[in-house]
């Protein structure tokens, strides 16, 4: 904590901002050609948020259409495009890059005590690839969109669909390399860029989670890249290996697709788990319970995640024996997630918990992820899944994991590190209100869908029987609350940029390396190379992080 005291005793007047990564260069060029991971992260934040907004608007249209049993707001063909584009934008352009490309990019070098990621130019390249992939996809959507579902199932996508499958496919293909390069950069950085004393088992769990994520990114993404490329070639050349009419195999597509796309859900959730580990340990002011178990469960999820793709294909005609094996392995992959959940709960036990906004989100995550995970076990059982496949039960399940898990964790992370990223504090009051609104709105939206699915309402239809309307009205009402709750952070976070209280270097009094530099950090991250002499999550007495002491110190300096 020498840094903190040194800074509070600094003679620089408070109204003259210190040189940091934001005010170090104001030209457009200084942003577009930057090699600074923090600036790249901010540009990712803006781009990813734009895609999230677009995906959210599509979701709004879906829920409005489903307000009434008949398909009246949208034509059925339009509805197909709307849910497809919701899926594509959300999965490929929001869920996958959100935490790694924004929070990971910003925090990973800070957490390991490096000046930057190991390959800064590759990092900038990944952002440009993301933009190019995004622009191609948006262009295709404006031309008329795509209606295959985000999964691009063959032979519909290759032979029958009259929409812009090829253009969107190429957009997604290109975007995949952005994710590969990010993962590659993280792996290299974690191996070679750690500060002296920052051993593997002193790494914050956020870093471990990103290491596991990166493994999946570089080993999984290329497979879906080649698969989507094959779909595009097949559409273009009117011949290919997925066309059953000439002896090709549409199920092969599903195998190749899910070989990536199941591990991809771990690309989405693992970084979220990393965020939650940080937030829960931090706001319980306690070393995380079972550090090694949480760390290795991330790796276990990454490894086992590659062995369970067949549970997406129980009713696609794979053999019953394959189904049993995949079912068993799907149960196995639930174990490391359960380990994490137990350890987070155990961390909170007898911790001195403070309910700041990030912690509210994190506690919400625990409940929602629990429901999402346990309903996953329903779907992983070979027998039960025959009843539930392609119903709203599935939709509710993966939204509980993706939104209730990943998006909530993302918001927790954004709120937790916002003071570090921008140097400003947001309104704690509105933060708490929005966290609670999102929790309530989310449950109101998606819990009825479990019941709807169990009653047999199929997914991806614009109309449904009248007796299912009541629950659908609940769901749409919940979606409005959820949407409102999600807009609120945009407003008060942007407000905080201009009117927010200046953030201290360590506003939460947390021990991570990222809190031991100024807020916002200087371009080179640390004034001098930090030397790590403490264990991760060290809230011990000698750490100087006692909240009471800190408040007293603060009172004196003010």
């Amino acid at each position: 904590m020498q840094e903190v005291s040194a800074i509070s005793g600094n003679s620089v007047p408070a109204d003259e901002p210190k040189l940091n990564y934001i005010n170090n260069g104001h030209t457009l060029k200084s942003w577009l050609l930057t090699k600074d991971h923090k600036r790249i992260a901010l540009m990712y934040l803006v781009s990813v948020s734009a895609f999230f907004l677009m995906g959210g608007i599509y979701a709004g249209f879906i829920r409005l259409e489903l307000l009434t049993p008949a398909s009246d707001l949208l034509e059925t063909a339009t509805y197909n495009k709307v849910f497809t584009q919701h899926g594509i934008l959300m999965v490929f352009f929001f869920l996958i890059p959100a935490i790694p490309a924004i929070l990971g990019n910003f925090l990973l070098p800070l957490m390991i005590g490096a000046k930057d990621l190991a390959l800064p130019r590759i990092n900038l390249l990944s952002l440009y690839i993301y933009w190019i992939g995004g622009i191609i996809t948006l262009w295709a959507l404006m031309q008329g969109g795509v209606d295959t579902g985000w999964t691009f199932y063959t032979p519909y996508s290759t032979t029958f669909s009259n929409s812009y499958v090829m253009a969107v496919g190429i957009g997604v293909f290109i975007n995949g390399f952005s994710s590969i390069l990010t993962g590659l950069n993280f792996i290299v950085s974690i191996h070679t860029m750690r500060a002296p004393g920052m051993t593997w088992f002193r790494l914050p769990l956020f870093v471990w989670a990103h290491y596991a994520t990166s493994l999946v990114m570089i080993l999984g993404t290329p497979v879906v890249a080649i698969t989507i490329l094959l779909v595009a070639i097949e559409r273009f050349a009117r011949i290919g290996i997925f066309d059953p009419a000439i002896g090709g195999d549409p199920i092969l597509f599903q195998h190749l697709f899910w070989f990536y796309s199941h591990p991809a859900v771990y690309i989405m959730i693992l970084p979220g788990m990393g965020v939650i580990s940080e937030v829960i340990a931090g706001f319980s002011r306690k070393r995380i319970f079972g550090y090694e178990f949480v760390a290795f469960s991330s790796i276990a999820i990454a490894v086992f995640g590659f062995l369970v793709w067949g549970h997406h294909m129980f009713v696609s005609g794979q053999s019953i024996f394959a189904g049993l094996v995949f079912s068993f392995l799907s149960m196995v992959v639930a174990v490391p997630s359960a380990i994490k959940t137990f350890n987070w709960t155990a961390t909170m036990y007898k911790g001195s918990i403070s309910y700041d906004t990030p912690m509210l989100y994190a506690i919400g995550f625990l409940g929602l992820f629990l429901i999402g995970g346990l309903t996953g076990l329903f779907l992983g059982s070979v027998g039960l899944t025959v009843h539930l496949t392609d119903t709203y039960f599935v939709v509710a399940h993966f939204h509980y994991v993706m939104v209730g898990g990943q998006v909530i964790a993302y918001l927790a992370g954004i709120h937790y590190w916002w003071p570090k990223m921008t140097g400003r504090m947001y309104s704690e009051f509105w933060g708490k209100i929005s966290a609670m609104l999102i929790f309530v709105g989310f449950n109101l939206t998606f819990f009825p869908q479990f019941i709807l699915g169990y009653m047999g309402m199929p997914r991806r239809y614009a109309s449904y029987p009248e007796e299912l309307q009541v629950l659908n009205i609940f769901s749409t009402a919940g979606a409005s609350v959820l949407g409102f709750g999600l807009v609120m952070p945009v407003v008060y976070l942007i407000h905080s940029l201009f009117y927010g209280k200046k953030a201290a270097d360590n506003p939460w009094m947390h021990p991570g390396l990222e809190w031991r530099t100024s807020s916002p950090p200087p371009t080179e991250n640390f004034k001098e190379m930090p030397v790590v002499t403490w264990e991760a999550y060290d809230f011990g007495e000698e750490s100087g992080l006692d909240l009471e002491d800190a408040r007293k110190r603060e009172a004196v300096t003010i």
Partner: protein, 291 residues
């Protein structure tokens, strides 16, 4: 493994701002390239999986298609690439030794071999174009109808096949052509056909030339995608070598700084190794059915 504590006032040539010293930088770019190659293996892995699945199902069609590839050309290219790997390895060696002249010579030789490979590949592709073996309709040589040519029916499976002077077929639209079903008959006589083949080549118990052609076409589809992507990697490799050539020419590399040469070499060797797998899978496996 971790960064080193000493602050670096001295600035070594080629040291980037985020690193503390050259050792850290070399280690980083090397791990980065290995991770990238792991990614590449998975990228090609999807294609190899597709190849294996269809070869398992339709071995006769794949043998028939494979038989029309020129194993001499393929073998020549294998040789060319292996020698280029040697010159690439020597490039790294001379970069480490700081021998600028031999470094440049070896890079030029490597590029020469790479270009030779692509040239041979172009000859092979042209041959496929001339014989109507490109799986995309319209991308083959268009052969106008010739009244003097012997009449060839679609269902005729008695034709001996390509390469035996049967250039007098008609192909006005440039479609994929394949009429030789002799391998199916052979396999049928010896009871070699797989379950998929018993369905995939026959209509009402009779050999269906069109259905067999479609399976051969699948082989050529996979052949073109695999070798095409491999050739694309070769072209990128040549671009990298051009950059290396310029850097070596101005004397950038020496005993203290040769990491770019080393990781470009890793990439080059990787592209070679992919070919070492492609060659037997596409050109050699299954030839014995006819020979």
């Amino acid at each position: 493994m971790t960064a080193h504590g000493d602050t670096h006032e001295h600035h070594e040539p080629g040291l980037q701002h985020q690193f503390e010293d050259m050792h850290q930088q070399e280690e980083s770019v090397s791990i980065g390239m290995w991770a990238f190659l792991a990614q590449e293996i998975m990228f090609f892995g999807g294609l190899f999986t597709a190849y294996l699945v269809f070869r398992w199902r339709f071995p006769m069609a794949f043998a028939a298609g494979s038989n029309h590839l020129d194993e001499f050309m393929g073998g020549l290219n294998t040789l060319v690439l292996i020698v280029s790997s040697l010159t690439m390895a020597l490039t790294v060696y001379y970069a480490q030794k700081g021998n600028r002249t031999l470094q440049v010579v070896m890079i030029v030789l490597t590029m020469l071999f790479g270009a030779t490979f692509l040239g041979v590949k172009a000859i092979e592709y042209t041959d496929k174009y001339n014989h109507g073996l490109v799986p995309v309709t319209g991308w083959n040589k268009k052969v106008k109808e010739d009244v003097s040519a012997p009449h060839v029916t679609e269902q005729d499976c008695t034709q001996v096949g390509h390469g035996d002077g049967d250039d007098h077929y008609v192909n006005p639209k440039g479609e994929f052509q394949w009429k030789d079903c002799s391998l199916v008959k052979l396999a049928q006589d010896h009871n070699y056909l797989t379950e998929d083949e018993k369905i995939g080549y026959f209509t009402n118990g009779e050999i269906d030339a069109n259905k067999f052609r479609d399976k051969v076409r699948l082989f050529y589809y996979i052949y073109f995608v695999m070798t095409g992507l491999h050739a694309l990697h070769m072209i990128i490799g040549l671009g990298v070598m051009l950059w290396l050539l310029w850097k070596a020419w101005i004397g950038t590399f020496g005993p203290k700084y040769y990491a770019p040469v080393e990781i470009s070499g890793l990439y080059w060797h990787f592209v070679d190794i992919v070919w070492i797998f492609l060659f037997p899978l596409l050109y050699l496996l299954g030839r014995h059915f006819l020979h």
